[in-house]
């Protein structure tokens, strides 16, 4: 049996079921989430290239699927990343029905996961760039819906992804045909620059985030956050994959220094931009940029502990972001919009919703006991003796995000129109928010129970993490 084929067909079939059930949003979301979760567990647990007896049959799971003379190979690093991606999809789909994302959302997100998985398995890797362009087109279909005509954001997204595709294809050609080694510094510099553009687009590193602010204004918040989370996760995985594969890249001191500085710039940019926003969706988007900056700062340390912290932080951010966005979209359905004026005073009529929003914000901003706090604290501890700029950046980021948290909390507590709107309780979303909160606190209070498992996902990167 062919594992890459099973994963791709599994994603397509589950997407098909979710599409058929699109009129029943909750059914579609749960079917999609269940399918994605099973595929994720399958990707992580399946014994590759080993034969075993199953009833009267002898079963062997192959890790390679040939298509048009090229191979989709599920090797150890790809297995961890793809498993994580499917489980991330499951988490995102679970909340999608309560967030009232459009009815094609579960099926399209599953297809997107399938295409991204194929990109991660693609050999030679440069073909993955074209699959990412196709993924961007799927992302456009997710981003734009008749009730959310975010055409400007869609075209900007397509444009930046086309640039990324071209940059990565050229870099792949330089790597594969021209050949880049430590002895060819000029070509190595060009290749690194092209790769940097490609990764910057994937991870929405400023200025390549310029589709994001428009998307936050024009599209559904949950959709925007899902796409951003997806792309940033994919960008992190591709970055790790490249660093693991190419020795010349990981042995250049400027590589990790560049990653660290990009992270620092993202934290400052995201945090400063958050301060001045009047729409909460934009605050989430910039908070995610700043958060990814911290993750890149961890990667920029360039050693095994930094990369393990990077993986921890990458996983720990998910529950907080989902809690914040889900509770915001539920509240938006009641009050109509996410501007500071519209949310003024809503805490009086919707205290629980506002509590969830504030706790979600606090989780993303890494207050103590939140999921991402242990990882950030460890990072701060590691940087304390050696990286003054990193420490200053993290502290400044914390301070600015605290100001944002207090500002929005006071706005929602103040007097305004939002206070007059009647509460419409939806038990499902309430229970979901409680579960998300439990996950945020669980990961924050007992990080040793789950987060070390996250580190095993990158165990397959044998060059980057020599045992």
């Amino acid at each position: 049996m062919n594992v890459p084929l099973i994963l791709l067909v599994g994603a397509i079939v589950t997407a098909g079921f979710a599409f058929l059930l699109r009129a029943k949003a909750h059914h579609a979301a749960w079917i999609g989430a269940g399918g994605a979760f099973l595929l994720g567990v399958f990707a992580l647990a399946v014994p590759l290239e080993a034969a075993f007896d199953f009833a009267v049959l002898q079963v062997r799971f192959n890790n390679t699927f040939q298509v048009l003379g090229r191979a989709l190979l599920l090797d150890e690093p790809a297995r961890g990343f793809i498993g994580f991606l499917f489980i991330l999809t499951a988490v995102l789909l679970t909340s999608s029905a309560y967030a009232d994302a459009n009815r094609f959302f579960p099926s399209l997100v599953l297809l997107l996961t399938g295409v991204c998985s194929a990109a991660m398995m693609m050999k030679p890797f440069l073909y993955a760039a074209i699959l990412m362009e196709l993924a961007a087109m799927l992302a456009v279909l997710i981003l734009v819906a008749p009730e959310y005509p975010a055409r400007r954001a869609a075209m900007r997204l397509l444009f930046v992804f086309s640039l990324a595709m071209m940059a990565i294809l050229l870099a792949g050609w330089l790597l594969g045909v021209v050949g880049v080694t430590g002895a060819t510094p000029e070509i190595a510099r060009w290749t690194a620059a092209l790769l940097a553009v490609g990764f910057a687009v994937l991870m929405a590193v400023p200025p390549f985030h310029y589709w994001l602010s428009v998307a936050a204004d024009e599209s559904h918040p949950y959709v925007v956050v899902t796409l951003l989370l997806f792309m940033q996760t994919l960008g992190v995985f591709f970055l790790l994959r490249f660093l693991d594969t190419y020795e010349w890249l990981r042995t250049q001191p400027s590589t990790f220094e560049g990653i660290r500085l990009a992270g620092v710039a993202m934290v400052w940019f995201g945090s400063l931009m958050m301060l001045g926003q009047r729409r909460m969706t934009r605050v989430i988007a910039y908070a995610m940029i700043a958060d990814l900056g911290i993750i890149l700062m961890a990667a920029g340390m360039g050693d095994a502990s930094g990369l393990e912290l990077m993986m921890q932080l990458n996983a720990a951010r998910v529950p907080g972001i989902v809690l914040w966005t889900t509770s915001l979209t539920v509240l938006m359905r009641i009050v109509g919009d996410d501007t500071v004026e519209q949310l003024q005073g809503v805490a009086h009529s919707h205290p629980l919703r506002v509590t969830f929003i504030v706790l979600g914000m606090a989780a993303v901003f890494s207050v103590p006991f939140a999921a991402s706090f242990p990882g950030r604290w460890m990072l701060l501890d590691v940087m304390a003796g050696s990286d003054g700029l990193g420490v200053l950046t993290m502290l400044a980021g914390w301070m600015m995000s605290s100001i944002v948290l207090v500002r929005w909390y006071l706005a929602m507590r103040g007097k305004g129109e939002g206070g007059d709107v009647q509460e419409q309780v939806r038990e499902g979303s309430f229970i979901l928010n409680i579960l998300q909160l439990a996950l945020v606190l669980g990961l924050g209070l007992f990080p040793q129970a789950v987060l070390p498992w996250m580190e095993t996902i990158i165990d397959g990167l044998s060059n980057l993490l020599p045992s």
């Binding site: 003379g69 087109m137 055409r151 050609w173």
Partner: protein, 206 residues
């Protein structure tokens, strides 16, 4: 036949230049789509200088299907709202003509400075690719309507792929590039036909 076509590579380069100009200046969608189809023909002609006809024809076929998809979506829109087969632009026709002229001269400047050279590639193919990339970037830069930006994106990708197919002339790459063009046409059609308000975008405020 193929050898004969290779000797006349200046013709597709001029064709690409002219088609780009028509796409830039024409205000009717159907004219732009026609020019786009012609542009695909010329790009295929240029591709013939380094790829066999069987491979190059994939590009032509894909291009014609892409143009047909765009035409069908425009036709559907026209049936829904008759008499609106016009691409609204932020700028006047004169400005666009001058801007296109400047970009073509700049493209020729880049080509003649030999700043970017690919060994083994015919000069005319390189010139055609530079014109396509420059024209695509200009279209994306000065357009506001989904259709116009989409056609600009297709032009930009055509230019890049013309170069890249020379560097990586594999079946799989051609197939994936074809899939990108078809998917792009599908996305543009979706945004144009199914998303309300497409007609209004790009129009100057009243």
């Amino acid at each position: 036949m193929t050898v004969f076509l290779e000797r006349l590579l200046i013709i597709p380069v001029l064709g690409v230049m002219l088609a780009g100009g028509i796409i830039m200046v024409a205000s009717r969608r159907v004219v732009r789509i026609g020019a786009l189809a012609c542009q695909y023909v010329f790009v295929t002609w240029l591709t013939l200088s380094f790829l066999p006809l069987s491979f190059a024809s994939i590009r032509l076929l894909t291009g014609l299907i892409t143009a047909a998809m765009l035409y069908l979506s425009s036709h559907t829109m026209d049936e829904q709202q008759p008499g609106q087969d016009r691409v609204e632009s932020m700028t006047g026709r004169g400005f666009r003509t001058i801007a296109y002229g400047v970009v073509i001269v700049a493209g020729y400047g880049v080509f003649s400075s030999r700043w970017f050279v690919v060994s083994g590639l015919e000069d005319m193919v390189l010139l055609g690719a530079i014109f396509l990339v420059a024209s695509g970037l200009l279209q994306i830069g000065i357009s506001k309507q989904t259709f116009a930006i989409g056609v600009g994106l297709i032009t930009l990708l055509s230019g890049f792929e013309l170069l890249y197919t020379f560097l990586e002339p594999s079946r799989a790459m051609l197939a994936l590039q074809a899939a990108v063009h078809l998917a792009l046409a599908l996305v543009i059609s979706y945004l144009d036909v199914l998303i309300p308000g497409s007609r209004e975008e790009g129009k100057p405020a009243e």
